[in-house]
């Protein structure tokens, strides 16, 4: 099948949507499909062979922050040419409500259009203001996908209509084969955390509290932390004697992230709320590391109600310390959780997710062929 993917944000700036488009394109190509991606990119940015640049994106204020977007006559011209030269069976746009390439492609395409909605926001002023303009373009979309229940709710509330739910994928093999960091996990037990240190909802302070409770009885226990944030800020929160037992990696690349997840005996997700999906859990599970997470609804779903990972009462540091301690003492249970977690992660592997997305393509691409060859029938 000839598939055209449209990424609205600059390719070389890391972001969730860009990563999604990249992984989807790779998975589709691996399945033998003919894929072309159009995206804004800087002139000298190295691009994979299947990516076409629509030119530089301009930083503009949009929806409360500064986003790098591509719009205007020049971009529209490039999108039109890409559509003409690609003669796609289906065009798959991402985040079509953002004023960038996806919206232009939706406007210009005359083949079946699939759209994936990524954002979940409680109120978007931008969407509300542009509602009637967007509506005309979005009416052309034949099938809508939301990556999470929260994204689906956002879509239903702001734009009306409905979407099918297909979650983000995980590249399981990348995580399963990563090498642990030298000298980790060690003999005294190691716990891992991944996420913003300075965002309370990610629950890092809670984990530090639990770590201090456990550290007395476990002199060898160490904590490995990855995510944007400064080591000094973390160490300030700890008594001096514990500082050497907490290692902060800071912001890590994807490869380092996989290695970090393989370097610990137990991965902890102490989030206190606001998670719509929990891709981090899946990454840890793909790395065959047992997971202990707060019992938020989203986590409960991903962990199959405790079958594929352990749960503790959200926001309770004592419960976290007890559950983590019990797991660290029970090698067999950790091994069982790691195995069932790894099996569960396969349900979210990109190959599985891509198959679901291809079914959506087939549903709409097929329909336009049918509609064109059938004689007109009154409804």
């Amino acid at each position: 099948m000839k598939v055209g993917l449209v990424c609205p944000y600059t390719w070389d700036v890391p972001g969730g949507v860009q990563a999604h488009v990249h992984d989807l394109a790779t998975a589709l190509i691996a399945l033998g499909h003919d894929v072309s991606v159009i995206t804004p990119a800087d002139d000298d940015a190295p691009l994979p062979p299947y990516v076409v640049s629509a030119g530089r994106a301009v930083p503009v204020p949009y929806n409360g922050s500064v986003a790098r977007l591509a719009f205007g006559v020049l971009s529209l011209g490039r999108v039109r040419r890409w559509l003409r030269e690609g003669s796609f069976d289906v065009v798959h746009v991402h985040e079509p409500a953002a004023p960038s390439l996806s919206l232009l492609a939706t406007w210009a395409a005359d083949v079946p259009i699939i759209a994936t909605f990524h954002t979940s926001v409680s109120r978007s002023r931008a969407m509300a203001a542009a509602y009637s303009i967007l509506q005309t373009a979005l009416e052309k979309i034949s099938g809508r996908i939301a990556v999470s229940e929260a994204a689906r709710r956002t879509l239903v509330e702001h734009l009306g209509g409905d979407a099918v739910l297909i979650p983000n994928g995980v590249q399981v093999s990348n995580f399963a084969t990563a090498r642990p960091l030298p000298d980790w996990p060690g003999d005294g037990g190691a716990i891992g955390f991944l996420g913003r240190i300075d965002e309370p909802r990610k629950g890092f302070p809670l984990l530090l509290e639990a770590f201090q409770l456990m550290a007395e009885q476990r002199p060898g226990l160490r904590l490995l932390v990855a995510g944007p944030g400064d080591a000094d800020d973390v160490h300030k929160l700890l008594p001096a004697e514990l500082r050497s037992r907490v290692r902060v990696l800071g912001l890590v690349s994807d490869a380092e992230k996989a290695r970090m997840l393989r370097s610990v005996d137990l991965f902890v997700a102490p989030n206190t709320g606001g998670e719509s999906f929990g891709i981090v859990l899946l990454e840890a599970m793909a790395a065959q590391t047992p997971v202990l997470a707060s019992d938020l609804d989203a986590f409960r779903v991903v962990l199959d109600d405790g079958e594929a990972g352990a749960l503790f009462a959200t926001g309770d540091a004592v419960a976290l310390a007890e559950a983590a301690g019990a797991l660290l003492d029970d090698r067999d249970r950790r091994a069982r959780l790691a195995a069932s977690g790894a099996r569960r992660a396969l349900d979210y592997d990109w190959s599985t997710v891509a198959r679901d997305i291809i079914r959506v393509y087939e549903t709409v691409a097929h329909s336009s062929v049918r509609a064109a060859t059938l004689p007109y029938q009154g409804r």
Binding site: T136, K140, A163, T363, S367
Partner: protein, 177 residues
Amino acid sequence: MPWWFWLLVAFVVVASYVGATSNRLDRLHARLDAAQAALDAQLVRRSAVTLEIAASGLLDPATSVLLASAAHEARASSGDGREMGESELTGALRAAFTDPDVAATLAADPSGIELLHELDAAVTKVPLARRFYNDAVRATLAVRRHRVVRWLRLAGRVPPPRFFEMDDEPAAGVSVK
């Protein structure tokens, strides 16, 4: 400016608005046609592959008869009865595949595994096609409710589209990796 100039301007503005709205409605009707054809195709495909599985002789006679009659009823139903007929096929498939042995029996046979893959694709595509169809219905109805469309009868004599409501929760046992 003479009065007729302003009249002309007003006329052009109104005419282009009506033209654009009419265009928009046409496009929606085309999308609706395509979505309806897709839904019909997926439903027919689902009953066809169910019938083939029932006739394959791989399953026990009771399950085969249950599936064959449900598939036949679904395919034969039309108009108002179709939502009911197709929902009953969904129920029959769910009941038949509750026992994991049914899928395992099919998977063990070279032609059975092909049928199982086809059924898996069909039962997951029906909900997709139905959601996309209902979404097209909603978008079309929203535009048809505009005053301009109603007063000028831009929708012509095309009757308003109807939502298609059915039970399409796929049978879990059908899913193959």
